[in-house]
Amino acid sequence: MLAESLALSALLFTIGVVGVLTRRNAIILFMCVELMLNAVNLSFVALSKVHGVGGQVFVIFVMTVAAAEAAVGLAIIIAIFRHRQSVNLEDINLLKG
């Protein structure tokens, strides 16, 4: 059961990574990151079956932090939208070189 959970977690994590790499919309990108975090959460939960509650405690922390991050992140995306009228990351390249 542990191995399957970890495999699923890895799969989800990979899906998240691939999403980040391929998508161009800031919000979707952010969603993919959230997917990665939750994949890790799955691992933690699975592992805590072996190692005790530490992993589950960690999951609570991660969820809390992810919520805070989501709040800040969405605010940032709104801020950029106000400037560029777009959240397409292809358009956002003032800073380069």
Binding site: V20, R24, G97
Partner: protein, 733 residues
Amino acid sequence: MQTEPLATGHPLADTIARFAWLIPVFPLVGFVLNGLLSLRAAGHPGPADPSAGGHGHDGHHRGTGGTGDGHADHGHDDGHHAARHPAAALVSLIGPGVLALSFAMTLAILYQVWVVDNALREPYVLTLFSWMPAGKLSVDAAFQIDQLSLVMMSIVTGIGTLIHIFSVGYMQDDPGYPRYFAYLNLFIFFMLLLVMGSSYPLMFVGWEGVGLCSYLLIGFWFSDKANADAGKKAFIVNRIGDFGFLVAMFLMFANFGTLTFAGVGEAAMGAQLGGALVTAICLFLFLGATGKSAQIPLFVWLPDAMAGPTPVSALIHAATMVTAGVYLIARSAVLFSMAPVAQLTVAVVGALTAVFAATIGLKQWDIKKVLAYSTVSQLGYMFVGVGVGAYSAGVFHLMTHAFFKALLFLGSGSVIYAMHKAYHATHSHEDAQDMRNMGGLRKHMPVTFVLMWIATLSIAGIPPFSGFFSKDEILASVFARTHGSTLAEAHWLGIPGSVVLYGVYVLGLAAALMTAIYMTRMMLYTFHGPNRTGEKEAAHLKEAPWIMTGPLVVLGVLSAVGGFVNMPALYAGEYSEQLHAWLEPVLAEGTGITLGEEGLHLSHATEWTLIAIAIAIAAIGIAIAWTRLKPEALVAAKDAKAEEGIEKTLLHKWYVDEAYDKTVVKPTLGISRTLLWKGIDTGIIDGLLVNGSALVVRAVGWAGSQLQSGRVGTYAWVLLIGVLSVLSAFSFR
């Protein structure tokens, strides 16, 4: 400063000889005083400023063409005939004065040598201070007084004094008058160092120093590029020789551990006869000598050196400096005698130079050029002498040559002086040194005419003039050594030594023949026949003042009778070979090695035959020139046709300068500029390696910054590359 431990107990130590260091110091003082006077005047621009009207006479001078003396131009063009240097009187006193003091001092020492018993069985070495002590090397500033150096000192100071006096008249109107005497005094100082130094390094100081003064004096009228070029050429060519001198010293120090004459001589005695080491040392020394004494292949600077004032040519480029190479070999007599192959080289090169230069002398029009090639040729003679181990004969010819060649140069100076005055009076721009512009001068300059003939007969080898004795002795020595000497037994480039010596002898005769021809030619064109100077100008031709002709007379006497100091034993009886005897303590050892235990003696018959041949050759030469050359047919330089064929080749000195230029100078400059500087320096090192690597780094940086596209997607991909690399590094350890 340490006092001389070596000299204590020497018979001369308590005599005036212990002040011998004053001899070079006098001219040094003269140099300093004259130099200061020259600068002082320069520093205070006034009516007598040397550069006043400098422009005008530059232009004028170029107009005269060639490398001629431009002395009369200087300071005259603006019409101020009284534009003598403000300090001229003082300079006229100091310049020759210090020389006279040195000469007097030299005579005083000579006198002491005469009166003190066994005064110079051993050389008297006067150590002043330690010059370059480093490790095992110890070079002292020390003078060596012996018979050889005394002869040289006498020539240098004696002839030097005469030429200084002559210069007072010759240079009187030159704006650079104090500078001239400063240089001249400095030259004498270095020349005395050269002949008095007790070790090779000290001699080298003088060696280089005279080269330096020669450079300064050749380029004395530096405003003309040709003069400055000639000075530079002299110095650089001499430096090639100096390189040889240096290497010879390295070899001596590395193998003998000492550089003093005494030490090296002693060590050389213990070396292997004909061994590679002594041969190498001698050949390198000879390379030095070819530079200073203008022998093949380094003779090219001397003719150009005639660009200097004529008294300079007389003093430096005839009487003293150029003979330094001969002196060097005589000094190293033992060393050379231990290396017969090197000796033969010296003799062959000397003989070849004698002939080669004589051929060129046949076709020169510039009176000083004739004398210059004559000098080269006569120096070749001297080398033949010292080359075959007849060191005293070489020195003898050195001495007589100093007399008659100084006379010839000063005489020609007189002529040029007169020509200049004449052309100047009529504002003509003709060449005052071209013999085609002279002719018939005997009417105008009788004293000079007579004296010059004495010198000519002397150099041609007509008895009883001095040149006859010295030249004859050299030729006889060569002949004598064809059998039984170490030279005859040695092989030179595979040729038996005796064959080589016969060849040398024949070459010597050939050179003697040509010498007689070109000297007679010079006299004919200059003093005989009709005058070609121009009608107006001829009226202004007149004898030089007595301050100039005076020294000429003295030299004339010396040229005439100077040979008597070393007449052959054949007919002179108890008065024979006095110079030879005098020099014996210094040179006998070397000669002895060459000749063997009991020496070599020619039969009287042979000797008489040789003398007859020599006289005949000289007489034939004069006769050829006298009968074949027609001064009447000559036209002035401006109307002359260009030469053709062999004459052109001779006039252009066999195109040696051009050949050197093409094979050495141009390639060196070309390689330096295109290959080394532009190629390696700015091309490979700077361009490719330094700036190239900087460029590569910058290019990579630019590429990197292009990757920084500003797009989050790119960044994520790069990040992923990192992730994969790290993970694979962790997985596949």
